[in-house]
Amino acid sequence: MSTTAPPMVSFRHAVKTFPAKSGEVRAVDDVTLDIRTGEIFGVIGYSGAGKSTLVRLINALEPATAGEVIVDGQDVTALPERELRRVRAGIGMIFQQFNLLSSRTVAGNVGYALAVAGWPREERKDRIAELLDFVGLADKARQYPSQLSGGQKQRVGIARALATNPKILLADEATSALDPETTQDVLDLLRRVNSELGVTVVVITHEMDVVKYACDRVAVMEGGKVVEHGDVYSVFARPEHRATRRFVGTALRDRPSPAALERLRHRHPGRIVTVAVREDGASSTDLTRALREHPVDGTIIYGGIVEIAERPYGSLTLELAGEDAAIAGFITDLSSTTSVLDLGTAEHPLADPDAVGPRATTASPEGDEGPSSPTLPQAVDTDRLADADSPTWNPFTHLRRWRR
């Protein structure tokens, strides 16, 4: 898809506030963002980050409080209700709980969208058959939603959303109620919708896997703001915002949680480092080379490498054995090509500031070094260690409890 085509959706300082007991809640807070024509765009964030509200600005199910939302060249914030209904008919939407009409059959649900859009009755039948064929449910036309599995219900939802040949499909946590295998099927279907029908797809999710598998570009939301956005790989490979780093860590679990790190230190009391593995594949090659060239033994004790946007992504955690100077040289060398996070030794531990998951049972020191800043051996501040009994407040642990 040409990047010179005008964006399908353009948010310009979009704001949406809701009245609340104490003042107001800014569910969407000054968002400026373009969704390109023909892409699959992900909006990721924890519950309450404002992503559902953001996509509802596109079809004006929620009218924007301020700013502009330009959809296919038209500012929907300026349209009266009657006009909005016409715009909505050109935007498909699917939902986490499917939201099918339980009183209508599968064919009836798809036909409903056509009826709303004013299709003549005689043309509906062929279109329904065509759509059910596309989503692979041709044999279920006469069944009621309650007779279908979750994945099948979502396929009906997709058929219904596509009924009127929309240019945009909004998927609001469309796979969050599905098991992993069904999620995969539905994501494959969404990719087909995008590639075969040329529909611009906007996917809201709290599942990293969904973005990883299906999206071209992604926006990360937190507290109503888009804190980071861009190409999926670059956002996740070099996350600039803490929210994004947490997300990546939570989803991939390639780095040991504080509790896991503590257990690792029991078995591996030596120097522990985490080495990032990124797209060009050079970082794992570099690791092999550095281990060969320096008088250092490396044992892989933790890690994971997956694909994001069809490119490798992850990290490996190693225990290094050797002279202190040799280890320092090894780290400096490797840091020149990839990011290396020094986790110290059992005797002088250093924490991973972006670690996610269960906390260590004993105190862990605060580390200010991010994963992108290569670190050299550090002296551990023992005073701070003593103070570190109270776990540092982590703004995401309470959010994580909200998930699912």
């Binding site: 079809n59 199910l61 909005l84 209904r85 016409r86 715009v87 909505r88 008919a89 935007i91 939407m93 939902f95 709980q97 939201n99 099918l100 009409l101 339980s102 009183s103 209508r104 409903y112 969208a113 009826a115 709303v116 859009a117 009621y144 939603p145 309650s146 007779q147 219904r160 009127t164 909004l170």
Partner: protein, 222 residues
């Protein structure tokens, strides 16, 4: 007082009373069904967060329902006398029974309709809005069909409540089974007549419930 019940005399009267009850109940239900459905929908759609949110209309309608419903029906029949007079031109007789029965039944049904709509998944309404459906279309093509099973059960409940009301309006000369049981049974110390009438009402109520359940099951069979 006779020891023998004169059924030859009473059966024609009973038939007439039965006819009066059926007539009163049918007309009241017809009016209350339409008015109650409209009122219930109006309360639902103007409720906070719904698609025709309107605090003033909601408050007024809600207050109206809450004011009328707790009035004991026997008092209500007399209390709306002036309105009955204005509507049907008299305050006694079977025509005069219709306004109080219809009004009381309508507000009761409005509440039942509203409660069943509130129980609907708002996501379905949102899906219809996302397709570009107008509000009016959502009412008749989403809200009512989706809640049809519970609405049929609510109407069944209402029918039985209206049969109950019809026994009271004998007080204003509207006749009916209740009036028959009191005048030809209770006031003549003839318990046989009272029980026979009660048995007829029980059978009537059972029939209504069985029919209502069957229709609701049909609506919910999916």
């Amino acid at each position: 007082m006779n020891n023998e019940t004169d059924w030859d005399y009473l059966v024609p009267l009973l038939q007439k009373a039965f006819g009066e009850t059926l007539w009163m109940v049918s007309i009241s239900l017809l009016i209350a069904g339409v008015a109650g459905l409209a009122l219930g929908l109006a309360v639902y759609v103007t409720r906070r967060g719904n698609f025709l949110e309107n605090r003033i209309v909601f408050t007024v309608l809600n207050l109206l329902i809450n004011t009328i419903r707790p009035i004991p029906f026997i008092i209500f029949v007399f209390a709306v006398g002036p309105l009955t007079m204005a509507l049907v031109g008299r305050t006694i007789g079977i025509e005069a029974a219709i306004p109080p029965m219809a009004i009381m039944a309508a507000v009761a049904f409005a509440r039942l309709v509203e409660q069943n709509l509130v129980a609907l998944d708002p996501g379905v309404v949102e899906a219809a809005r996302a397709m570009g459906a107008s509000r009016w279309r959502i009412v008749w093509s989403v809200l009512i069909p989706e809640a049809l099973g519970p609405l049929i059960l609510a109407f069944t409940f209402l029918t039985i409540a209206v049969i109950d009301m019809s026994a009271v309006v004998g007080m204003i000369g509207a006749g009916g089974l209740g009036d028959f049981a009191i005048r030809h049974g209770y006031q003549r110390f003839n318990w046989e007549v009272v029980w026979a009438t009660v048995a007829i009402i029980i059978v009537l109520v059972q029939l209504v419930q069985v029919l209502g359940n069957a229709l609701a099951r049909k609506a919910l069979r999916r």
